[in-house]
């Protein structure tokens, strides 16, 4: 018996969704899942900024399904003009982020925006927020508005229920001027809503027009390509590195102390894991390694439906049809069966794997690359001996793995359809400002607020004040961000290690046939992949057999998988691949 007093509430309550791995299809994400599969290391420097991307990006019915690439896209895409304001300490290579290892004193900051671009109008912006949003009209917002030259009002909505808020707002007649849509909220009918409810920015940005906005012009073309929705350039992207964001971290301090060598193959990994595990001493080798297994075995990405297709010998093959997929599942299943995975990992919402990692109860785990910095800086004060690193992803049979590129943008801001020219230009003014690169006044104001109020310099490093921590809101970054970069001047060695890891992995990375495209699948097939994520979990945990997956795949083929293959093939033939 549950006497629920306000029953309507409990019925509508949104639960925390289960975690969604890059292996998943298009499920919504819990806060933890959101953090688990994040990328955009660029943001790590912005205090309180959630690091985003990687996951989601399903597609659904729409008036206009398919995608736009090739010649059609070329007409839409903005010209690329690289930014030369500040040279990075570590130049980007192989798709990696740029690295900045030094803090730049305020006197040396450059200006990337020549004048106030805003027309002084009012602009409402709706965006997800994790944590307590700053009060409206606070000094930071005022300073940003003042610098951009408009009056932006933020509607910061709870990130955990943002999918529901978004779904309802888009169904109403009152849509804010600018709406931020993360890729993991693009499930179901939202892509068709994006096409129906948001403005085409092509007339303002396509080709050379973007040059009016130098920081937007410096956003990589990949990211713009990803922002074409329903044949129009609608999104302002938050670019991300296409190199896999899932890094297998290990406790370097403990590995060194015990003399453990990093595994060079799947078998070595398993053998080492058995050696490490001592349940009696409450030490297990690893967390759930499914995501890393996909990388080790060279499985096509599962973070986006279209990315999972690849042209092999003239035939499109889906990730779930490949032997590598089954092998990766089989191997992860062996880890679980050998008892080397921490028991709490079976229930993915039980506590934080990284907490078990820092506690030394679980010595290897995989997560977003940004954890490298976050955990290192967190533990610096707690445990001076603590050291962690990301191991290079081993190839399953030894040697180098075959890695596949993830999407180069996964969060967008859109402008309401029917907005006046003034509103659109104000929105672009905000985007041009927040997309300013590292080392500029605009970037510094966006990330750290006003000097003396929101941050001070300590030993040459900017440190946020209490007021800064409360007010400086990472939401601005959602409107648009610069090309991916890592900047942790407080730990230059970690910054370097992160970028170099990306560069080594980037050298092994190829692109699947639909890389960088936002594709809207015909509605009758959008649900086809729904059950695979759960089946993967069931198999690795030993509840279902690998042969069940083979069964599911053959059902998938007959239920529409084969037709979907033809549909994608046709799309590929008419538009051409964007993959290099």
């Amino acid at each position: 018996m549950t006497p629920n007093a306000v029953s309507t509430d409990s019925r509508r309550t949104a639960p925390n969704r289960s975690d969604s791995a890059p292996g998943g299809s298009d499920s919504g994400q819990s806060r933890r899942g959101f953090l688990a599969s994040t990328t955009a290391v660029a943001l790590a420097v912005a205090g309180g900024a959630p690091l985003l991307a990687a996951c989601g990006g399903g597609a659904d019915s729409g008036k206009k399904d398919g995608t736009t690439t090739g010649k059609d896209a070329a007409k839409l895409l903005p010209a690329f003009v690289t930014s030369t304001v500040v040279a990075p300490d570590i130049a980007p290579k192989n798709g990696s982020a740029a690295g900045f290892t030094r803090a730049i004193a305020s006197a040396e900051l450059k200006a990337s925006v020549a004048e106030k671009r805003g027309k002084g109008g009012a602009l409402t912006i709706m965006a997800p927020f994790w944590g307590p949003p700053p009060a409206p009209d606070n000094p930071y917002y005022k300073a940003m508005n003042e610098a951009i030259g408009l009056r932006a009002t933020w509607q910061n909505q709870d990130g955990n229920v943002y999918d529901q808020k978004l779904g309802a707002v888009l169904a109403s007649s009152e849509i804010p001027d600018v709406v931020v849509v993360p890729g993991w909220n693009l499930g179901g009918k939202i892509p068709s809503a994006v096409n129906a409810k948001f403005e085409d920015l092509g007339p303002y940005l396509s080709g050379d027009k973007v040059k009016a906005y130098p920081n937007l012009a410096a956003i990589p073309t990949d990211a713009w390509q990803r922002s074409i929705f329903g044949g129009k350039l609608r999104g302002l992207p938050m670019p991300a590195s296409y190199v896999t964001n899932i890094a297998p971290f290990y406790r370097k301090d403990l590995f060194d102390a015990k003399g453990w060598q990093l595994p060079k193959s799947a078998d070595e990994f398993l053998a080492l894991a058995k050696e490490i595990t001592s349940a009696r001493a409450k030490v297990w080798a690893c967390g759930d390694m499914t995501w890393t297994a996909y990388n080790m075995f060279g499985v096509y990405p599962g973070s986006d439906k279209a990315l999972g297709w690849h042209l092999v010998d003239g035939k499109l093959v889906n990730r779930i049809e490949t032997p590598e997929y089954l092998e990766a599942l089989e191997w992860t299943r062996k880890l679980y069966a050998a008892g080397v995975v921490h028991p709490d990992e079976k229930t993915q919402n039980q506590g934080d794997t990284s907490l078990r990692f820092t506690a030394g109860q679980c010595l290897v785990y995989n997560n977003d690359l940004s954890h490298w910095y976050a955990k290192t800086s967190e533990q610096a004060a707690q445990n001076p001996k603590f050291a962690m690193a990301a191991m290079d992803i081993p190839g399953h049979a030894g040697g180098a793995p075959k890695l596949w590129a993830t999407n180069p943008a996964n969060i967008w801001a859109f402008v309401k359809k029917g907005s006046s020219k003034a509103v659109i230009e104000d929105a672009l003014a905000v985007a041009d400002f927040t997309a300013a690169p590292y080392g500029t006044k605009e970037r510094m104001l966006t990330d750290y607020g006003v000097e003396g109020v929101h941050h001070t310099f300590k030993d040459g490093l900017p440190v946020k004040t209490d007021q800064g921590n409360q007010e400086v809101s990472s939401s601005w970054l959602f409107v648009a961000s610069p090309a991916p970069y890592v900047a942790h001047p407080d730990t230059p060695e970690v910054t370097r290690a992160m970028v170099e890891w990306q560069q080594r992995m980037g050298a092994l990375t190829s692109k699947t046939s639909f890389y960088g495209m936002t594709i809207t699948e015909p509605s009758q097939w959008t649900g086809l992949m729904n059950d695979f994520e759960q089946l993967e979990k069931d198999i690795v945990r030993g509840r279902r057999k690998v042969s069940d997956m083979q069964q599911a795949v053959s059902e998938w083929k007959t239920k529409g998988g084969d037709q979907l293959r033809d549909w994608y093939k046709k799309l590929l033939d008419t538009t051409g691949s964007a993959a290099g």
Binding site: M1, T2, R17, S27, G167, S173, K189, S192, P343, R541
Partner: protein
């Protein structure tokens, strides 16, 4: 509710008609309900105050429940809320598909599997969970020391305010594979165990979690009923030689019966609701084979991918079943001499 059967006349009727009471209330009620010898207008005038009193509730329910419930017509559509300027006009532009969504629901083996899990869990909760608050209420009620009683009561109802995330975390920390018990066993050279990820015993685990969280909370309705028991009845029963157990059987339980019957009827009507967040949170731990219930199924297959029509169809099915169940349970309660939710 024995008072109902022994009460004399319907005073409201008497007040309105000015006629002397009929004597037999049953006949009076029967007559006033069906044969219309008292004209409707007069009955309306007689009961206008009562009707007026229900007006605010009715108004709220009509506006905030019934109006949005109309949105369920999308169950007969392939509804896309974004094809038009807003979600309402979109209803007129979405294609009508007849019963296709219902066919989708019924032809999905996953749906039937979820229904099966739901019913098993419901029966377990009914048998193992439902009586616990009653037993606890009797137990707490038998404590004479007021401080002890207040303490026990306050402690028992606290877990209701724990979130499901926390409840499951606590269970995991104690019963999980790296939990306190398993680790203690390992340190003494025994095998560890993991009660949290075993699909076989999951249904009992869910029930245990539910009892831990909400049984103490459920106690308070029964305590309210116990507070109304006439203490003289106990004395009289004791004088007649009834011992402790007989007094409980003959005095306490009859006093609780109407409440138990009411809550039981409502619980049966809610048979298809056995928890949502609790099960979604533990889905990965045991897999959908054990953890999929109707509500999580609808969320997973419908709402998650904004298949509003599908979700609405499943919701209507669930609603109809619930209504049928509650009316049947009510009927059974009447046959057993209870008031239930309402008298037919």
């Amino acid at each position: 509710m024995s008072t109902l059967d022994t009460e004399k006349a319907d005073p409201a009727a008497r007040a309105a008609t000015g006629r002397p009471p009929r004597g037999d209330r049953r006949r009076d009620r029967h007559r006033s309900r069906t044969d219309g010898r008292v004209p409707l207008g007069r009955r309306l005038r007689r009961d206008r105050m009562l009707l007026l009193m229900t007006a605010p509730v009715l108004a709220l329910v009509v506006v905030f429940n019934y109006v949005p419930i109309l949105g369920n017509v999308v169950a007969f559509q392939d509804y896309d809320p974004y094809v038009s300027t807003n979600g309402i006009t979109a209803i007129f532009q979405s294609p009508w598909v007849g019963l296709a969504q219902f066919e989708r629901v019924f032809s999905d083996p996953g749906f039937w599997h979820a229904v099966e899990n739901t019913l098993v869990l419901f029966l377990l909760q009914l048998v193992l969970f439902f009586p616990v608050p009653i037993a606890l209420a009797l137990l707490v009620n038998s404590v004479l020391r007021p401080r002890v009683r207040a303490f026990v009561q306050a402690v028992l109802y606290l877990p209701h305010f724990f979130s499901w995330v926390l409840v499951i975390t606590v269970f995991q920390q104690i019963l999980g594979g790296a939990g306190i018990i398993a680790q203690t066993l390992r340190q003494h050279g025994h095998e560890g165990f993991d009660l949290m990820t075993d699909p076989e015993i999951f249904k009992f685990l869910v029930t245990a979690e539910g009892i831990w969280k909400d049984a103490g909370w459920g106690v308070i309705v029964f305590l309210a009923a116990l507070a109304a028991v006439n203490q003289d009845l106990y004395e009289a029963a004791a004088m007649d030689g009834a011992n402790r157990w007989r007094r409980m059987w003959h005095v306490t339980l009859p006093a609780l019966r109407p409440v138990i019957a009411l809550l039981l009827v409502l619980r049966v009507g809610d048979a298809l609701t056995v928890g949502f967040e609790q099960l979604l949170l533990q889905r990965d731990a045991v897999g959908p084979g054990a953890a999929e219930v109707l509500d999580t199924f609808v969320w997973w297959t419908g709402l998650r991918s904004q298949d509003f029509s599908y979700a609405a169809a499943a919701g209507l099915v669930k609603g109809v079943v619930g209504l049928v169940l509650v009316l049947s349970a009510n009927k059974i309660a009447h046959l057993m001499g209870e008031q239930g939710v309402y008298r037919k």
